[in-house]
Amino acid sequence: MNETDQILENIGTTEYKYGFVTDIEQEFAPKGLNEDIIRFISEKKGEPEWMTEWRLKAYKVWSRMKAPNWAHLNLREIDYQDIIYYAAPKPKEEKKSLDEVDPELLKTFEKLGISLEEQKRLSGVAMDVVVDSVSVKTTFQKTLKEKGIIFCSMSEAIREHGDLVRQYIGSVVPANDNFFAALNSAVFSDGSFCYIPKGVRCPMELSTYFRINAAGTGQFERTLLICDAGGYVSYLEGCTAPSRDENQLHAAVVELICMDDAEIKYSTVQNWYPGDKDGKGGVYNLVTKRGKCQGNNSKISWTQVETGSAITWKYPSCLLIGDGAIGEFYSVAVTNNYQQADTGTKMEHIGKNTTSRIVSKGISMGKSSNSYRGLVRVHKTADNARNFSQCDSLLMNPSCGAHTFPYMEVHNKSAKVEHEATTSKIGDDILFYCQQRGLSEEQAVSMIVNGFCKEVMDNLPMEFAVEARKLLEISLEGSVG
């Protein structure tokens, strides 16, 4: 084995840094899923009757559905009765200030490099923090309120802004959309809610940080983001989980609604526990994310950097309904060891003069499998639709796999749809070239990978880009040097 192979082989032996467990008092629902559990969750959250009914209806739909098997994934059968659907850090009444958040939790977030204290936060980022099933803290709420922006936990939104939630929840991802969305609709416990009023540009980045802590639990958060006419918001999402031998389920739903001339930029850095070197444990990340460009000239842009999870099943999509609507999808997915990712996007061109752009970069290492799956559908009504897709795969060794499944359905002759795809491996030539200029092999690999992802990374907000780049570096760290 030459040195390059050795380095590439050793890549990923770096320990997952966020794998610790926090010892906090927690409350659980009993294991398993039935109507009583759903009532229990709904009651715990003090929800109105309509919400409980909505959940129960979703549960009925779900219980008649089968888990999908079309993805290029080797997904072990999940026993849905062996999961705890509700776990929460034990409440200490309403948390009015930071002093009331469990100090153990605060320590956890310090360890994760996240400060919940507003004055210490990077200026310009408001944050909602979700641990297991509940939101523990939302920062900068007051500042945002002055602009008329609502940014709070989903539970709070259901209680305080019931009309808005009731109007929009399930309007983009209906409960019967797919198996995991139905499950989420029945049992979702928390998540973030955001409403940007007409003509308001959100003055700071909004952010939700998700953390699974408890064992044997699933995390089912639900995010709902509404950007009214002429509004703008940039939203960030980050996630980690402890290292555990068993697989943990994460089935989230994200719905975005974008009115006339509004713009939503949604960025994700996903770093759930990917399992160990032999493929044991790790999070099953089965997520439905969809944005609706309802208004004319509205724009939704998804950017994701996916390095974690044992299994990722995720297709942030755009429904381009308004005339002149724009949908974008920028993705970097890194898989290592036995990780499997089947990710991509769906662009539904419905309105006239709609445009979409897809840039997907897959990096495969170890024995992992990395698939891009995308659909561009131009409906009859979508005159002059434009799409450009670029899917590139980078293979780090011969034992990993990269797959591309691009689907196109064009029902309007004026459409222009372009697709480009490349697959490359890090060649000895390019490594030697870098080494001949004085760079170590590891630095060379890191530089080449960063270059490969640049177009996507450039779309991340500044602070996030730094974090994402660090994450990439960690994912690539070898044993040499």
């Binding site: 040195e3 080494q435 080449i448």
Partner: protein, 251 residues
Amino acid sequence: MLDIQNLKAGINGKEILKGLDLKIGAGEVHAIMGPNGTGKSTLGNILSGRDGYEITDGYVDFDGLNLLEMDPEERAQAGLFMAFQYPVEIPGVSNANFLKSAVNEIRKARGEEPMPAPQFLKLLREKMALVEMKKDFIGRSVNVGFSGGEKKRNEILQMAVLNPKLAILDETDSGLDIDALRIVANGVNKLRTPNNSFIVITHYQRLLDYIVPDFVHVMYEGRIVKSGDKTLALELEAKGYDWIKEEFAAI
């Protein structure tokens, strides 16, 4: 500076270098010429540390270091530079970023602090003028979308920025038009000092009109079979290589 003694090496069991000797002193320019397939590029590859060659015998001393024992990046850090015949493209990595990393790695190996960004940019601009590179070059990806001539000029630019003790130019003149050749040669000539040495591997005497060598060597069958001054190159240009082959066959 460089002392190659009885170097024997090959690839896939086939011997290419068959006992090569070469001594290069500080400040000297050596041209290596010879017919195709005689091991000229192999010599460059082995000196710069490319993987895949079996070295069966010989010793190479580079400024007191055992060159063949060193990793490619250690050789670069010690001041050995290779201008590639076929420079690679690195998408998404800007020329400035690439060169800055290289400069700072070499400095780090020497126990020096990284070069402050303004100082680096000043250096880069100065050297870009030397090889007549356009300003937008700084932000472009390494060699991506470059013409053949631009790639070769980029090699010379990198050399100028890294300021190596010994530079190997592997057929840098191939595929260059006369203007590009002049620019490349001019770049090299400006870098000639009493301390820097060059090995210029070429097929043609043409380049040597611009970069005037102190010594010319003819390689044949994995060895240096004839050495002389710059007039040897002219003789080769006039007479071709056949007389060398005949002379060699007679031995």
